[in-house]
């Protein structure tokens, strides 16, 4: 049997990509579990309160880290590796090394989360895992990134296109960010609130420069691939890319508005956040102008439906984000649970939805097994519903929280927090739905990856028959 070149490439990727997707799925479940516990604790503070392990602060941070590094990291590796190899038309190298580095990455995160739960966290945003695990994380990341770059360098076509820029940039940005933060926080530690500026800069950039470009790159890849038509106004993409590259690193510090740092720091952040309108507009024009030319096909292809949900939510909520960075509004919402809205819309409504779509696109090609349409569609509807409920609750709850907190005469616990409690209850409900939906996703994925025992038996008996 003769295989075409794409099949050969997919075969070379199978082991590593399946490994990353499978582990990403498990982290997603872990994060869902933590998210549920944390939200349940806000509605009933006595829930599991006698276990120190489950105290709110620890669970909350474990959730964010499991989500970003466990689910985010692994799925970034899977998607980047596959898309880069496909576009380069080159086979993966160093499969064993990839698996090895991947295992270290996952082990390091496991220890990191245990460290957080055991009370060894650092006070730095998105760097909460204990200092000891970071060298291992960095090393394994380095190996994986190098191997992906090796694939990219052996590409057949010299010219690169939008998905490659976004994916490779994200691949390179993370270690740069990490080294800068590590230098300023651990090696040559800054004092006082300089630390806070740096850690906030890192924490927000992990979302903006690591997760976001991967999702954008994936969308630039998958939309034309499935629809079979080029990206509309593709010439804008390069402008959009450099806009994000040059604005995002500046825009992330507006969260320090009014805080104990020199005024220019949040002021620049605010201006740059408003300028982010341009790259957001570019991406959404590219995606949606292309997708809406053939909306039936988008609707009927589940992977694409996930991706377009993601890009739409990116557009809408990024604009909301711009509004919330205006000083007059920021004053009200700055410390409210609106922050949860921003985090969840970015990592959930946008990043995860696009990754779900990518995984459903990649897996059948790699494993040769189709995933049942009904299962995918169930996953889509529960996710979409859960995400919408979650985001709306955080948005309205956040506004309520912010507005009431601005009234000095209201008592904190009995007026402000009591009015927000109903929204905590809604988020708890949303997290249950999402946990359920993610369970379906993981089952879908694992079913495709792991050969079912019956098939194995069949094969075995065939081999035996052949032998006799």
């Amino acid at each position: 049997m003769k295989e075409n070149s794409e099949q050969i490439i997919d075969k070379s990727l199978k082991l590593a990509v399946c490994f990353f997707i499978a582990s990403a799925g498990l982290w997603l479940l872990a994060a869902a579990f933590f998210a549920y516990i944390a939200s349940a604790k806000l509605t009933d503070p006595f829930f599991l309160s006698s276990f120190e392990l489950f105290t709110y602060g620890k669970i909350k941070l474990a959730q964010a880290n499991a989500f970003v590094y466990g689910w985010g990291g692994n799925s970034i590796f899977a998607v980047t590796l596959w898309v880069v190899a496909r576009l380069a038309q080159a086979e993966a190298r160093g499969k064993v090394l990839l698996l090895f580095a991947g295992s270290i990455w996952n082990l390091a995160i496991t220890f990191g989360l245990l460290g957080i739960l055991d009370g060894h966290m650092t006070p730095h945003e998105m760097l909460e895992m204990p200092v000891e695990v970071w060298p291992a994380l960095f090393l394994s990341y380095g190996i994986i990134a190098t191997l992906i770059i090796v694939v990219h360098r052996s590409r057949r076509i010299k010219d690169t296109i939008a998905p490659q820029w976004f994916l490779l940039a994200s691949l390179l940005w993370f270690p740069m960010l990490f080294l800068i933060a590590w230098n300023g926080l651990e090696i040559d530690a800054a004092r006082g609130t300089v630390q806070s500026v740096l850690s906030m800069w890192f924490g927000q950039n992990v979302i903006w420069l690591w997760l976001t470009p991967v999702a954008l790159g994936s969308a630039y890849y998958i939309i034309p691939a499935i629809l079979g038509r080029p990206i509309d106004k593709y010439y804008l993409a390069v402008f959009g890319f450099w806009c994000i590259a040059s604005l995002a690193p500046w825009s992330v510090v507006h969260h320090l508005e009014g805080g104990p740092v020199p005024m220019w720091i949040p002021a620049i952040g605010t201006v740059m956040s408003i300028a982010m309108i341009f790259p957001i507009a570019v991406a959404s024009t590219n995606f949606h102008a292309t997708a809406f030319q053939d909306i039936n096909k988008v609707w009927n292809s589940l992977p694409l439906r996930f991706v377009i949900f993601g890009t739409l939510s990116y557009t809408v909520s990024s604009y909301i984000g711009v509004v919330f960075s205006l000083p007059a509004v920021a004053k009200i919402t700055q410390f409210s649970i609106i922050n949860e809205f921003h985090f969840n819309q970015r990592v959930y409504g946008f990043f995860s939805m696009i990754i779900f779509g990518m995984v459903y696109h990649m897996l059948p090609r790699i494993t040769g097994k189709e995933i049942a349409k009904s299962a995918k569609s169930f996953h889509f509807w529960t996710s979409a519903f859960g995400v919408l409920v979650l985001l709306l609750a955080y948005l309205i709850g956040g506004l309520t929280h912010g507005v009431l907190a601005q009234q000095p005469s209201l008592d904190w616990a009995s007026s402000v927090i009591s009015s927000v409690k109903p929204y905590f209850l809604i988020t708890e409900f949303a997290f249950i739905i999402l946990a359920f939906s993610q369970l379906v996703f993981v089952i879908n994925v694992w079913k495709a990856i792991i050969p079912s025992p019956f098939e194995l038996l069949n094969k075995l008996s065939l081999i035996k028959k052949g032998a006799t």
Binding site: D159, A169, P408
Partner: protein, 383 residues
């Protein structure tokens, strides 16, 4: 963009610009601040033998900050009082002035935080002076603030069957029983840390904010009192103006938060009935209607321990309003609020004048403002 190296350099540069500004620039500008006196002399020098601020954290508090960090308390609590134009933190009584970069130079872990599900803790140490309250709150916040969502930390305490010198006794109204807590060393460290949280000094770059927006508040209060006076005039036009003024101002103090208010409403409620089992009623209470001196005393110094009101037993703590909280009530304000509670919800007895409050204050000037009265003590005095 086809050459990977050039591409990498390009995206590194975009990042590096921001890094230069925020990290290197910030560090050069305020990375090596040093402690300073509250104000500078004419030559912009630190005056001789002036105290320097901020002061280093006490050792126990520094240990406590690591425990606080380990429990993830900063996921819900910020430690930054924002600039006046960026929010109402100062008005809320969370600090007498906005926080400055210099305030944080000695902190081992800087935990500015970004979400306020709980109140800001920058100045907790000036707000809550009673370590026992902090222990109770740490053990089970809901025991002292029923609606709280602050997570309980029972694992930091051991419990024993009986009360002793080392225990903190937490009375449970529902079961009419007490729990006796022995704090672990971790709990003690955390409480030491919480008590150490204060930015109660001025800095040359930031003085205390005087009576926040005095004009605005006055405007609001006159409009409120206009309304109230109208009401009052309708109800009881017989009241002399000075009395109705005192009552109006007292009503405002009753429901206003610090500064300038007592927030009595948070505990004793709008209807003066308190909360069964937790806060005693003021309507029809002997303590309110009876001996003026006793009433003034508990308003200035506070009241703790078991008391009986209208035949029901209550055990609780009320901090005094004369003690140096963020801003204590003065004689006039105490007189007003007491006159108000003596003439509301069906109560109707004589008013209390500022002079009477001053007289009690003078006669008790040896008593520390933070030492609360107990019912037993007061009743002995009566004898």
């Amino acid at each position: 963009m086809n050459n990977l190296l050039k591409f990498a350099v390009g995206i590194f540069l975009t990042l590096a610009f921001a890094w230069l500004a925020f990290v290197v620039g910030a560090r050069v500008q305020f990375g090596d601040l040093s402690p300073i006196s509250e104000s500078l002399d004419e030559d912009n020098e630190i005056p001789e033998d002036a105290d320097l601020f901020p002061m280093p954290q006490p050792g126990l508090a520094e240990l406590g900050s690591s425990e606080y960090l380990a429990l993830g308390c900063s996921t819900c609590h910020t430690q930054q009082v924002r600039m006046v134009e960026s929010g109402f933190d100062v008005e809320r009584g969370w600090g007498k002035r906005p926080s400055m970069a210099r305030d944080y130079i000695y902190q081992k872990h800087v935990m500015l935080g970004n979400t306020r599900i709980g109140p800001d803790l920058t100045n907790l140490g000036t707000r809550i002076l009673d370590p026992e309250w902090l222990h109770k709150h740490l053990f089970e916040p809901q025991a002292v603030v029923p609606e709280s969502v602050c997570p309980p930390s029972p694992f930091l305490y051991e419990q024993q069957e009986f009360s002793s010198d080392h225990t903190i006794d937490l009375f449970d109204e529902e079961n009419n029983s007490s729990r006796h807590l022995i704090p672990s060393s971790r709990a003690t460290r955390i409480v030491a840390y919480l008590q150490s949280l204060k930015q109660d000094y001025e800095l040359p770059e930031m003085a205390f904010i005087e009576e926040p927006d005095a004009i605005d508040l006055e405007e609001i209060s006159t409009s409120v009192s206009d309304l109230a006076t109208n009401e009052m005039n309708l109800e009881s036009s017989a009241l002399p103006t000075w009395l109705s003024q005192q009552i109006t101002s007292g009503k405002e103090i009753y429901s206003k938060a610090l500064p300038g208010g007592g927030m009595c409403v948070a505990c004793h409620q709008q209807n003066g009935q308190g909360l069964p089992g937790a806060f005693p009623p003021l309507a029809g209470s002997d303590w309110v209607l009876g001996d003026k001196e006793r009433l003034i005393k508990i308003s200035i110094h506070g009241l703790q321990g078991e008391i009986a009101v209208n035949g029901e037993k209550y055990v609780g703590v009320m901090q005094g309003f004369g003690q140096p909280l963020a801003s204590p009530l003065d004689d006039q304000q105490i007189a007003d609020v007491l006159t108000y509670i003596r003439n509301e919800w069906g109560n109707s007895v004589s008013s209390i004048s500022p002079e009477e409050v001053k007289a009690v204050r003078d006669s008790e000037k040896d008593r520390e403002l933070t030492s609360m009265w107990t019912a037993a003590e007061l009743n002995n005095f009566d004898n």
